[in-house]
């Protein structure tokens, strides 16, 4: 898929952009909803544009408020859900696994 969005055109969203983003997000946006999403998403993107005013040179990004490193636990088997319990609410199950539509013909 080609990428219709061009960098540096921040804050300007077209219907094509929204279609592209929707496909990335695995959402099928119907034609009658496209206009509405383009408008509201465009409005929000324009609003967040204000972040471009900030001087973030030499500012470290925060991904977590509480700094934590890797967290390890002992590699010990503990009680967990059984296969049967996990599959009890499956949409479709077969041979102890979740069943999905045919992928490879």
């Amino acid at each position: 898929m080609s990428q219709p969005m061009k960098p540096n055109e921040l804050g300007l969203l077209t219907k094509e952009d929204v279609k592209y983003i929707a496909a990335l997000a695995r959402i099928d946006v119907q034609e009658d909803k496209l206009e509405g999403f383009t408008k509201t998403l465009g409005g929000i993107v324009q609003y967040v544009e204000q972040l471009q005013e900030l001087d973030v040179e030499n500012v470290k990004p925060t991904s977590h408020a509480v700094p934590v490193g890797n967290v390890f636990r002992p590699d010990v088997i503990k009680p967990s859900l059984t296969n049967q319990e996990a599959l009890a609410i499956a949409v479709e199950a077969k041979d102890g696994s979740f069943k999905v539509p045919l992928v490879i013909e």
Binding site: D17, L51, V59, S63, V91, L102
Partner: protein, 475 residues
């Protein structure tokens, strides 16, 4: 007073003195639900399992629809999770059950906690007990409305950008978002993992401390849970603020703040000053960027977290009538298109955009850096203040339908609550007045990380010297 009207601590006193039984209390609250929930619509369903009444703290509790509770259908108020019967209990639910808590049922919320009004729920809106034409706030709107309407003695909610505090404010009750890592997120269906935190919604500050005692603590199953000793929060309930420093950010009192809310907060400020607190004007220069920062960071995390809902395992699965791409991809797209509501789709797409190639630096990375600036502002102020005080929300509750078609104006109602999530610090909302139209106003206090005790102390002192928390809606 009837049993359903009581706070948890008053109910416990009655149970201990033998004047009532846990079963009687539970039945009385259930009767209240039957009587008023057809109007309030706080519950999405009542509990399927009869509770055990033999525990130490047999308090009737309502659970937000995003906290996994064994054998209950938990859906995040979304069609995509219809039919998900949780096979396990979240960490907080285990703690509640171990304390003897008696679960009444599962309460409404905005779909996946995306909203500030409880209107994006697939079950339809919950209504504000103070005015049934108005929203209860969100996303923990069902939790707040159930407690305000005496349909639960207390409730659990979750707060990603204000989702406990804003509905608590709109419904005239107490709501606390604990420090990030204080309460285990194990079994909380994730919205934005670096911001989400579970917390209590209660009728007064003492109950808030009691429920914090139950739910706080380290949990190995949540790798962001912090292994820090949990104090007895009821010890923080001291009626004394003499000498405490309260910071008032000048950025909080600007355009967009409703006049009646401003007046109520200024009156509260004067009361605390009279009680001996030291008031300091402070500045949080980057907080005007908090909403923009939040809607980048939170939606980016949400788009990633919600990628798991694809119809493969449980909940909804849908297949289009004819093949579009291939059977599996068609199933993902059709399931997600039918399963998610418009606001969920909007946020997933916004987050996908912020993370997409060519835009990552301009949006997501910049958002994370803005987050640092906002956190630094708060750290700086806390060097010389014990708490920071603001309104919880710039307005009182609004009419159902008023803001739903304008997402941006809805997002701006979280302007005061978002900074605490971005910085990971605790914040509480307590009732501080009413508008002329009879709607509750909330006061927000933010504290240093792991200093919930200071928030409880100032809130308790305020509560002991006011009567707002004693008012009840007419239903």
């Amino acid at each position: 007073m009837s049993l359903h009207q009581l706070t948890a601590h008053a109910l416990l006193d009655l149970i201990k003195s033998g004047k009532t039984s846990p079963k009687e209390a539970y039945a009385d609250v259930l009767m209240r639900v039957l009587a008023v929930d057809p109007k309030v619509k706080a519950y999405v369903h009542m509990a399927h399992c009869e509770p055990d009444f033999s525990g130490a703290m047999p308090i009737p509790i309502a659970i937000k629809d995003n906290l996994c509770t064994k054998q209950e259908e938990i859906t995040c108020a979304s069609r995509i999770l219809k039919g998900f019967i949780s096979p396990y209990d979240a960490g907080v639910i285990e703690r509640v059950k171990n304390s003897g808590g008696t679960i009444l049922g599962i309460v409404n919320m905005d779909e996946f906690a995306f909203g500030s009004s409880c209107e994006t729920s697939c079950y339809g809106p919950t209504y504000n007990p103070w005015n049934l034409e108005c929203v209860p706030g969100g996303s923990s709107g069902g939790s707040a409305a159930s407690v305000a309407a005496d349909e639960a003695t207390w409730a659990l909610g979750s707060d990603t950008g204000g989702s406990i505090r804003q509905p608590a404010s709109f419904c005239g009750i107490v709501g606390l978002k604990p420090t990030y890592g204080r309460v285990s997120r194990y079994g909380l269906i994730a919205f934005a993992s670096s911001l989400d935190q579970i917390g209590p919604l209660t009728k007064d500050v003492r109950d808030c401390a009691l429920l914090m005692n139950i739910i706080s603590g380290y949990d190995q199953r949540d790798s962001t849970s912090v292994n820090e000793a949990v104090p007895d929060y009821t010890k923080a309930l001291v009626n004394d603020v003499r000498g405490l420093k309260i910071g008032i950010p000048k950025e909080a009192f600007v355009e967009g703040l409703n006049g009646e809310v401003r007046q109520a907060v200024e009156d509260s400020l004067n009361l605390l000053k009279k009680l001996g607190a030291v008031i300091k004007e402070v500045s949080l220069p980057h907080t005007p960027y908090a909403v923009a920062t939040y809607y980048i960071v939170a939606t980016a995390e949400a788009s990633s977290n919600l990628a798991r809902f694809d119809g493969v395992r449980f909940g909804l699965r849908a297949q289009p009538a004819s093949v579009r791409k291939n059977a599996l991809v068609d199933m993902y797209e059709e399931t997600r298109s039918k399963g998610f509501g418009d606001e969920a789709k909007r946020r997933i797409m916004l987050g996908t955009y912020a993370l997409s190639s060519g835009y990552y630096d301009a949006y997501y990375l910049r958002g994370q850096k803005a987050r640092t600036l906002i956190k630094n502002d708060l750290d700086e102020v806390f060097k010389d203040c014990d708490v920071i005080m603001t309104p919880t929300s710039p307005t009182v509750s609004f009419k159902v339908g008023e803001k739903i078609s304008d997402p941006l104006s809805m997002y701006l109602s979280d302007i005061y609550t978002i900074p605490a999530n971005l910085a990971g610090i605790p914040a509480i909302s307590i009732p501080c007045g009413f508008s002329k139209s009879g709607l509750p106003i909330g006061l927000q206090l933010m504290g240093k990380a792991f200093d919930e005790e200071m928030l409880l102390r100032v809130s308790y002192t305020y509560e002991q010297n006011t009567e707002w928390h004693l008012k009840k809606p007419n239903l």
